[in-house]
Structure formats: structure tokens, C-alpha cells
Assembly symmetry: C2
Homo-oligomer: 266 residues x 2
DNA sequence: CGTCTATTTGAGCCCCGTCAAAGGCGGTGG
DNA sequence: CCACCGCCTTTGACGGGGCTCAAATAGACG
């Protein structure tokens, strides 16, 4: 049940048996099932809890006053959804399920308890924040500089790698529950144009779609069409595997400093 | 000398006399002057220090392999530039000065010391992170949904409000050192089109430019042309003024929790 | 006063948005 | 099992926003 969540966090830090068990205890019985296409959060809501996405796809999006809507990011199983809660009090954007989803809302005090008990989980969450902001920067680059075709290819590459990292691909096949309207909202083009671009990628033999499934027929070519740099998703993991454990647990970065400052008040 | 920095941080938390003095002591004699258009950081650099922008304008930007380049954000005096250092080990983007600038590189240990001494400074930095990611989300919305004219107007509004918040406007006038190439890089259009759009705003009587100065002739109209929502920049400040101090200093959010977890290791 | 950079202007083209309508496909009810 | 309905996908035509190439003008600086 929590496999993808554990997988995701494990890719950021080597979780011990106690860590995963503590996580499972925390989540057990708290899961909430939400139907597809449900609004989870609205602009102006305050962050009361931390939210884990255990299963399903969710998107964060933001409206212009005239109704235009941009998807800011797509959350996959294992993602921590309300990271902004750490740095702001009110949401400036919305949250909506794409598929049927399983989410867990956890009171801050409980996350606090479990994080206190495991520096490795704290490390995993820290990496998760860095990971998601790296993706945001890549989306800025996409929306500003890539063509619609490149953006679409890039989105598919990103989702493919992210799903692969959490074990949700089988060979070259993956779930792809996004409607073309959602693809358009993510890559900043109209629904009609999203359709034409997806068609183009199919006709070029790069991908194949059947229902809500997508198969990557030629990953190298797709990545070339996307100007995709696979490293951008794996900055954290790379660090993980290239450094001895002791050093990795004591990163010389701001996180520690700011943490220390706050901790001094306790 | 450090006025804008103190101003900026003061807008996020009520700094005491000791806080500002400690900041000044930390910065005194460490300032480094950098010419305009200098590369400060390259992709792949590791984050060794925390960096404050004391004076000047800096931009963060990211390249596509074929040379296309998108500006991710613009840093103004008082901004903390290397926030990513808290969440990643290597930079996935670059840093370049727009104007002559004054920056301070501070070793992590020293920031740690000063933050330990002041929870209010830690609060200010936390808000700074939230502030900057709110701006990033707005840029995503801009690049994805606004037209070039709206994006350009929005950029000007954003910079105007941000400069005003740190006391760097006089009435409706502000510095505007961006070349049209940089404007284009920020709003995701070609230099030529950035020129036409700026001209359009001038002809519409919304702004006036003279050298590196820009005057907002009709702020309400400019904001309408930008679909600008002034709240988006002031989420943190609003919280600040609408809550009693005691409660504000003890935000019930993730920041504390993650901090606590790391602190438990010390 | 010459040089370099930034701004401006024009022409032509193509990417992509809009509008409109025609399939496809799954689900629901009879 | 079929008919119907709503949602999603697909297709076409047309117009406009924005890109490219190219060249002229204006400023900044030594």
C-alpha cells in the first residue's frame, strides 16, 4: 500500500527498518480516498496539515482572474504535497486530483514527532523539497524557451523518469491519466494544440498511447526532442551514491543553519 | 550601506536593535563589489556559502543545450540569493549580475551563529524563502498563460512593488537596468518582441522610460494590463500585521518540524 | 570622433489560438 | 443488449501573436 511512498523517500536517504515501520504506523488507518477531479485545496486556504500523496496523481494549479489556468506541477505517489506550508501560511494556488487518489493528512505535531526520531527521514524530506524546486525551475525553462512540441516531450520524459524512480513503470510503459486539456494546462498551450503535438509525437514514432496508458517507443529520441537532461531529476540521488554516508548525513548547507536557529528557541 | 537589506528583512519579521546590529557586524568588511554582467555562479557549482545581495540587481538563469536561456528570477537588494543551498548540493542554474552589485558571501557556520542568536532573523529567512517561491509560481503562471504584453506589464509591476517594499522607489519612479534582451529572457520572448511590447506600454501611456529609469504613469491601468494581483507579493507581510507577535513567532508549520528533527541530532 | 552595444523598424513567415463541428468511447439507464 | 449522453479526441479553416533576418538609428564610452 505504501510502497511508492517508501520507494520515493528511500531514493533520497537510506531509510532504516525503523524508519519505514514508523512511517507505516503513522500512515496506517489515516488514508483518505479521493475521487478524480476533486478540488483538494483552494487559493487562500491555510496550511493546517502536511499531506502525503500515497497513491494517484494530483496537480497544483493557479488561476488568472479571467479564468486562464496554469498547472504548476504534477504530484506523483510518494510526493509531499504541501511543502509550501513550511514557508507560507496561506496557499496562493489550488490542488486538484487527476486520478482517484489516496492522501494522508498529518498534523504537524505528528510529523514533528516522527522526524525527531529519524534524521534520515528529515534528510529525505529536505531532498524532496530540493527535488521539487528543481522541477519547477525546469518548468520555467520549458515554458519560457521550449516550443510546444519540446515541452510536451519534456513533460512525458519527466513523468516517465519520475515514475520509473518509484517503480511505477514496466519497461517502457506507464500510466498517463492526463487529458489533453490537462497536458495543455501544464505546458501552456491550448487543448487543441496539445492534441496536435501529442499526435505529432505519436506519428514520429516516439510514443504510443492506448487509453490511459503511454508507451515510450524511443526514449533517446524522445529525450532529444525534449532537450531533456536526465540529470536534473537526480541531483539528490547522485549526491547520495557518490558520497560516504557519514558525510552525507552532515551536509554543509543552509538547512542545518536555519534549523539550528529555530531549535535554539525550543 | 545595508539599508535595503535591513529593510527587506524587516518586512518579514520585527527585527530588534540587536538583530540589525548583529547583521551589520556580520556584513561589515565582507562586502564584495562585482561589476555588471559578471557570471557569479555556473551550473554544477556547489553551494559553499550563503550569499546576500546587499546592493544591485542579479538574475538567476538556466540554459538549454542549444543556447536558449531563460531568466528564472531577478534578485533585488536584500534578497538571499543562494536559498537553494539549503535543499541541494549543486546548482542547476547560473547567477549573473545585471548591475554593479555588492554581495556578501558568508560561511555557513557564521550564518548559523547569527541565526542561533535570533529567532526573528530565522523567521525573516523563512519568509524570504516563501516569498521567492511565490514569485516563482507567479512566473510559471505568467509564462504559461499571460500574453507577452501582460507578462511584460506584470514584470514591471512585480519589480515596482518589490522595490517599493524596500524603499527604492521615489513616487512612481524606479531604477530599471534591464536591457530589452534581459526583459525578453525573463518573459520568454525574443529581444525584438520585448522591444515592441515595451514600446506598446509606453505608447499606451502606462510607463515612461528614460535611460535606466522607469516611471509608472498609471499604476492601476498597468496592473490591469498585467492581470496583476498585488496580494501575491505580500502574503507574508499580511500575516505579519494581522497577527499578534507571540503567535507569529510560533508558526505551526513544517519549518519547525523539520528543524526540530535535524536539531535532535546536534 | 569612432566603436560597441542597445534600441528601433520593416517584411515575411510560421507557430499556435480560436471557433466550429465531427467522430470516438465509456457509462448509465431502460 | 441497445440507445443515449457526456466527455474527450480529432480535424479543418482562419487569424493573429510572436519569431527571424536584416538593416538603420541612437546612446554610451573612451
Amino acid at each position: 500500500m505504501y510502497g511508492s511512498l517508501i520507494n520515493r523517500l528511500s531514493s533520497f536517504a537510506e531509510l532504516s527498518r525503523e524508519d519505514t515501520e514508523a512511517l507505516q504506523t503513522l500512515l496506517r488507518g489515516r488514508c483518505r480516498v479521493v475521487d478524480a477531479h476533486q478540488q483538494l485545496t483552494n487559493e487562500g486556504d491555510s496550511f493546517g496539515t502536511v499531506r502525503f500523496l500515497v497513491d494517484g496523481w494530483i496537480c497544483r494549479h493557479k488561476y488568472l482572474e479571467d479564468g486562464r489556468c496554469q498547472i504548476l506541477s504534477i504530484c506523483l505517489p510518494g510526493d509531499l504535497v504541501d511543502l509550501e506550508g513550511a514557508f507560507a501560511n496561506k496557499a496562493d494556488h489550488c490542488l486538484r486530483t487527476i486520478t482517484n487518489s489516496v492522501v494522508v493528512d498529518i498534523a504537524h505535531s505528528q510529523v514533528e514527532a516522527i522526524l525527531r526520531s529519524s534524521p534520515r527521514l528529515a534528510q529525505a524530506l529536505r531532498c524532496s523539497i530540493g527535488y521539487q524546486s528543481a522541477i519547477s525551475r525546469e518548468w520555467l525553462l520549458s515554458l519560457g524557451q521550449r516550443t510546444a512540441r519540446e515541452r510536451c516531450a519534456h513533460l512525458i520524459c519527466e513523468l516517465f523518469w519520475r515514475l520509473r524512480d518509484i517503480g511505477l513503470t514496466s519497461n517502457a510503459a506507464m500510466d498517463f491519466p492526463l487529458t489533453q486539456e490537462e497536458v495543455g494546462g501544464a505546458i501552456g498551450v491550448s487543448t487543441v494544440h496539445a492534441n496536435r503535438v501529442m499526435q505529432d509525437l505519436r506519428l514520429a514514432g516516439l510514443i504510443e498511447q492506448c487509453g490511459k496508458k503511454l508507451k515510450v517507443l524511443d526514449l533517446p529520441l524522445l529525450e532529444r526532442a525534449a532537450l531533456f537532461n536526465p540529470d536534473f531529476l537526480h541531483g539528490e540521488q547522485i549526491v547520495r551514491s557518490s558520497r560516504p554516508s557519514a558525510e552525507r548525513d552532515r551536509p554543509s548547507n543552509l538547512w542545518w543553519l536555519l534549523s539550528g536557529a529555530v531549535a535554539s528557541e525550543c
